[in-house]
Symmetry: C2
Subunit: 313 residues, 2 copies
């Protein structure tokens, strides 16, 4: 196994999960290359303040955390390259990864491409990302204690997270494009909050613009039953689906769950031997940096074990 053209491990993505895995593999002298098509650090890098990543009692800026993870992986020798992975296939046990149209060979692969939150695509949404517009109630709900917010969406997660957010927000306007699509159970639970006045539901309502000033949100402009109106809020939470970054896996035969997330076993190996997955792209992901990082460490130990067994053959 001295073919220099064959890498030990290729990691697809360079968010917290892959960067952690790379700290572990490179610290053990396992040759590791990460391919990232957008920003190193993943969603963490574009998060304003991370309050619940363990080890930083006063919180840490997402960008700072991302750059520290990058530095740590590079300290032990991880190679982080920009490149768009369009395909992964297995040939005679060797993993072949197509990066920017060229084939790269590796003994093992970690898929840690994460998931993106579904966007509504309205003015103000990108501008106030993570500073008023949020996609994760667990992460950012606590920033809205006793403050009015809006929630956009009408499916299971929009209803579930609205109910969860009532423990923080003073009031929630739930903006639903058509009608509520959530399960009967959730709709039943929701009714209680509507009755108590904690949640006001707006059906047949499109969200048109998120308006703010001085870096803060003040208003969300909507069209409710054909009539334009403005609702004063401090924050907007959007729950219109999750988009796992698995488009490049078509044809690989890697098993996905019903949400399009990658299925793994306890060791975080997919159904293809030597191909592992961790973080937000994995089935069962919590969309939490702490979990992504933990899975990165676990995946790295599994990868080491896989490589050791391979080298013995």
């Amino acid at each position: 196994m001295t073919n220099d053209a064959i890498k030990d491990v290729v990691m697809i993505g360079a968010g917290p999960s892959a960067l952690t895995a790379a700290v572990y593999t490179t610290r053990e002298d396992i040759d590791t290359t990460l391919y990232e098509k957008a920003a190193v650090g993943g969603l963490a890098a574009i998060t304003d303040m991370v309050d619940n990543y363990p080890g930083f009692p006063d919180g840490i800026e997402g960008m700072t955390l991302a750059s520290q993870l990058e530095k740590q992986a590079e300290r032990f020798g991880a190679k982080i390259e920009y490149g768009d992975v369009s395909a992964v296939r297995v040939e005679d046990g060797m993993k072949v990864i197509t990066v920017d149209g060229k084939d790269v060979k590796a003994k093992a692969v970690l898929i840690a491409t994460g998931s993106d939150y579904g966007k509504i695509g309205v003015p103000g949404e990108a501008e106030y990302y993570a500073r008023g517009v949020h996609y994760c109630a667990t992460c950012d709900g606590a920033f809205y204690r006793d403050r009015p917010i809006a929630v956009v969406g009408g499916g299971n997660s929009a209803v579930q997270e609205s109910i969860f957010l009532t423990r923080f927000a003073s009031h929630i306007d739930l903006l639903v494009r058509s009608t509520i699509k959530a399960s009967e159970v959730l709709q039943h639970d929701l009714k209680e909050y509507i009755d108590s006045g904690k949640i006001t539901i707006h059906l047949h309502t499109t969200t048109d613009e998120i308006v703010g000033a001085d870096g803060k949100i003040s208003t969300v402009k909507v069209t409710e039953n054909g009539q334009p109106r403005e609702i004063a809020v401090d924050g907007v939470f959007v729950f219109v689906g999750l988009k796992p970054n698995t488009g490049f896996l078509g044809g690989t035969g890697i098993e996905l769950d019903e949400l399009g997330l990658i299925k793994t076993d306890q060791k975080l190996q997919t159904n293809l031997p030597g191909v592992f997955a961790s973080g937000d792209v994995r089935s069962g992901a919590t969309m939490q940096i702490a979990s992504a990082v933990g899975e990165g460490a676990t995946a790295a130990l599994s990868i080491r074990e896989y490589l050791e067994a391979l080298d013995k053959k």
Copy 2:
């Protein structure tokens, strides 16, 4: 459910996993009490330098990391109390935890008591803990690049970790009290390293003392086949078993694996509804802070879900 005497969540142990879980639960206003019988921060707190906890590119002292985790949990309202938990039982769905002889009631329990490394109990072992005497090759092996070390033990993990440590150490003296008890496969693998001179094996050898000066190890004193001798090493790795802190679970009916670690499902729930486990005490644990922390976050989300379902009843 307004009985003040019933706590929402009791966490047993206050290491990285429980402290992380507590950051999550308390940030969501879930009343959380942790009981710790020894040191807050668990094994992390007594680790000299943690090099692979993600987010600290230059490493962080274990004690500093532990105190930052503690601060973070307390910032959101976690109550950390010293107390020895001797039993857990379930009565009509309510969890009853015996702390210092008194019963405490809770709706949900997280067991995060960790595991301790088996000790050999010789002079110098405690004194040089984490500063020359180590119990985790993944954690500390990389500190011994091109340096001579000794490994104590003769079972599967001692042999496996010795082989792993050859990627760092210049030479390994493997100190085996009687004979090698590892699997045939591992013994076969080991032979290759003995033949190449990378590992020297000492059978019927007791480790008597770890000797050092100026805070560094210089020598390990052994008795080999009845003869005393000294071996010059920079570090000693001890692999004589893992002791999960599950002694208090006798009679609870909580399922353990063959190593005595607690079995859980994907949501980190044990076979008892409402009783969860995370970190080093859980079956499949990697003994890595990153993984323990990730599981803490995941367990907290599962606990929230459990409590929400409970409150609806």
